[in-house]
């Protein structure tokens, strides 16, 4: 019976226990988050109809809105518009109904004004990104809570890790791959962990701050006597405008409103060019219709969501002019740091690499613990087989499932239905099926699992760009020529992943035999 722990030992214990409890979950969240850095690019890879180079001549907002209003469904109350930006050159629009109902998205060609009909797919923005922040569990925000729990655990892991080392600085640069597997895995875990510790801490903290109203529903509304919507408005700006239930279809020129907003906000930004990137027309067809303009993801700064203007729809009168206060501005910077939507490609790639190193850190941590445990106990008990299966299933399986998701997207025809599953649902089904298969594979083939799954990953990763070429005619040389850098980048990353997977497969015999 232990009576006293030294500080370092208690830190190590917390680190280990916390790590094994949430490590697998953290890997999935980190992996999906890393991919989400390029979610728009993944969308364009998976929905080739959206691969349109940016154009100089654009049709006007009012024109686009009128085209949308022509196909307005009966129950639609508001219309959201996302104009073209440096990553996506199409207009993206969708209607909203009452009680949080969101209608499917529509895309409009910025030059011709025609609707684009992409193949049905959830893609990066609607599947991978959602897996990242709420694991696709939407019942009462359960997914967000689980991710939040994992995030707090991660903060704990990061802090405790600093205290488990005796010689942090000397160990910092040490990586000894030729030594015993346990030692080299630990080295890699330490290296990837320490080198980006501030990054991981800020990414996780900012990830917690983004849905803070979900995490602290009571605490953030006590000040306003329990009024949740007042709390939302205080934290994010805005104004509650209820419909008057009097019909009035007049809508003043929104282009003019956008110009006014951009002019005013440009002055706030030392005269730099400014772009309104989120427009919502609310209370459609009503006397109290309004147009809300926001600058959520500014191009040239990290801060997001600092300015907001609301105009009356039928008269064009300015109803609300908001610029965030100092503390909310700081929080916007922190949130912006997590969302990475500003126009700064070197930074975006560094974030991507940081995310990947985080995945390596989590994976090596799990592998190291598993090996150390097995070594300590000598033989292989059932519990070790289960842990081994889960580890491989999570690490290799998640990667493999993502690959399967991409491949299915290229293999399925544009309209397909199978037992009432539509195309996007079939892609998701493939993802989960491959994941399950990976677990089963890991459970039954103990000796050569790592190598086999690595080879499978390599095969999938190299097939994807080939299928892309076959089904869309876009190969890396052509996309580079056409200026479709998103597709080029995606194909390149896939090819590189295949190469890395093969290298790992060749060197991985030690994992299986150790």
């Amino acid at each position: 019976m232990q009576i006293s722990h030294t500080f370092r030992q208690s830190m190590a214990t917390v680190h280990t226990w916390c790590g094994i409890s949430v490590g697998a979950l953290l890997f999935v969240i980190f992996w999906m988050g890393t991919l989400s850095v390029f979610d728009v690019e993944i969308d364009q890879w998976m929905k080739p109809e959206l691969r349109i180079s940016s154009t100089e001549k654009k049709i006007s907002l009012d024109d686009v809105i009128n085209r949308m209003l022509a196909i307005k469904p009966e129950s639609a109350r508001a219309l959201s518009i996302s104009p073209p930006n440096d990553r996506q050159s199409t207009f993206e629009l969708w209607f909203r109904g009452g009680k949080g109902v969101v209608f499917p998205r529509h895309y409009i060609n910025p030059e011709s004004g025609e609707f684009i009909e992409p193949a049905q797919s959830l893609g990066g923005t609607a599947f991978l990104y959602r897996l990242h922040h709420r694991l696709n569990l939407t019942w009462k925000n359960m997914g967000t809570w689980v991710v939040g729990f994992a995030a707090m655990s991660m903060l704990l892991l990061l802090v405790t890790s600093v205290f488990t080392h005796r010689k942090v600085i000397t160990e910092l640069f040490t990586f000894r791959p030729k030594k015993a597997l346990g030692r080299s895995t630990l080295d890699l875990h330490t290296l990837t962990g320490l080198m980006a510790l501030p990054f991981y801490f800020m990414v996780v903290l900012s990830g917690l701050i983004i849905p803070l109203q979900t995490y602290l529903p009571w605490a953030t509304s006590v000040l306003v006597n329990g009024d949740k919507s007042a709390s939302t408005i205080a934290l994010r700006g805005g104004m509650k405008i209820s419909p008057a239930n009097v019909a009035n279809n007049e809508l003043v020129s929104i282009d003019q409103m956008v110009l006014k907003a951009e002019e005013k906000w440009s002055k706030l930004d030392d005269g730099k060019p400014v772009r309104v990137d989120a427009i919502r027309v609310g209370n459609l067809g009503d006397e109290n219709s309004f147009v809300r303009l926001r600058r959520i993801f500014a191009d040239n700064r990290v801060m997001m969501n600092r300015e907001q203007m609301i105009f009356d729809g039928s008269s064009g009168e300015l109803l609300y002019d908001y610029v965030a206060g100092p503390i909310i501005t700081v929080s916007s910077w922190i949130k912006g740091m997590h969302y990475i939507q500003y126009q700064h490609w070197p930074m975006r790639w560094l974030h991507f690499l940081g995310g990947l190193s985080g995945c390596v850190m989590i994976a090596t941590g799990l592998i190291f613990w598993q090996r150390a445990r097995r070594k300590k106990h000598g033989e292989e008990l059932l519990i070790h087989r289960i842990v081994n299966t889960v580890t491989i299933g999570i690490i290799c399986g998640t990667i493999l499932a993502t690959g399967g998701f991409l491949l299915t997207n290229r293999l399925l025809p544009k309209t397909v239905e199978f037992y009432s599953f539509d195309r996007s649902e079939l892609e998701v089904l493939t993802f989960y099926t491959v994941w399950m298969a990976s677990f089963l594979h890991a459970g039954f083939r103990r000796k050569t699992v790592w190598r086999e799954q690595a080879i499978l990953i390599a095969l999938v990763a190299i097939t994807a760009p080939i299928l892309n070429w076959v089904t869309t005619g876009d190969n890396p040389i052509e996309t580079l020529h056409k200026g479709l850098l998103s597709v080029f980048g995606m194909d390149m990353v896939l090819i590189l992943s295949a190469v890395i997977a093969i290298v790992i497969a060749v060197r991985i015999q030690r994992f299986d035999n150790a």
Binding site: L172, F173, T174, A196, W333, P346, M347, L350, S357
Partner: protein
């Protein structure tokens, strides 16, 4: 073009700075140099390291503004640590260029 060059320089300086810091640790110095070479004073190497890393930060602030620099610099520092770690593992003699 000039902008990209400055960022590339700042990134390189991060790697160099981390390299000098690694060299200031005795075991890494031994791994890099021939046994007959006497080690430079640890503090001098750390000063070089500090100089390289601060110049990197200044370049980021000048070129990108404080908002982006605050994010870029720690990230490029991480890249520096990783690169130096990998160089020390696979081709330690490459770091002789710094001495």
């Amino acid at each position: 073009m000039f902008n990209e060059l400055l960022i590339a320089t700042a990134l390189l300086l991060s790697v160099v700075g981390c390299g000098y810091y690694a060299l200031s640790q005795h075991q890494h110095w031994k791994a890099v140099t021939k046994p007959s070479v006497l080690p430079l004073k640890q503090t001098r190497l750390q000063v070089f390291s500090l100089f390289a890393l601060s110049t990197s930060l200044v370049l980021y602030i000048v070129e990108e503004g404080i908002e982006f620099a605050l994010l870029l610099w720690p990230l490029s520092l991480g890249l520096g640590i990783f690169s130096v770690g990998m160089i020390l593992t696979f081709r330690p003699t490459l770091l002789r260029i710094l001495i």
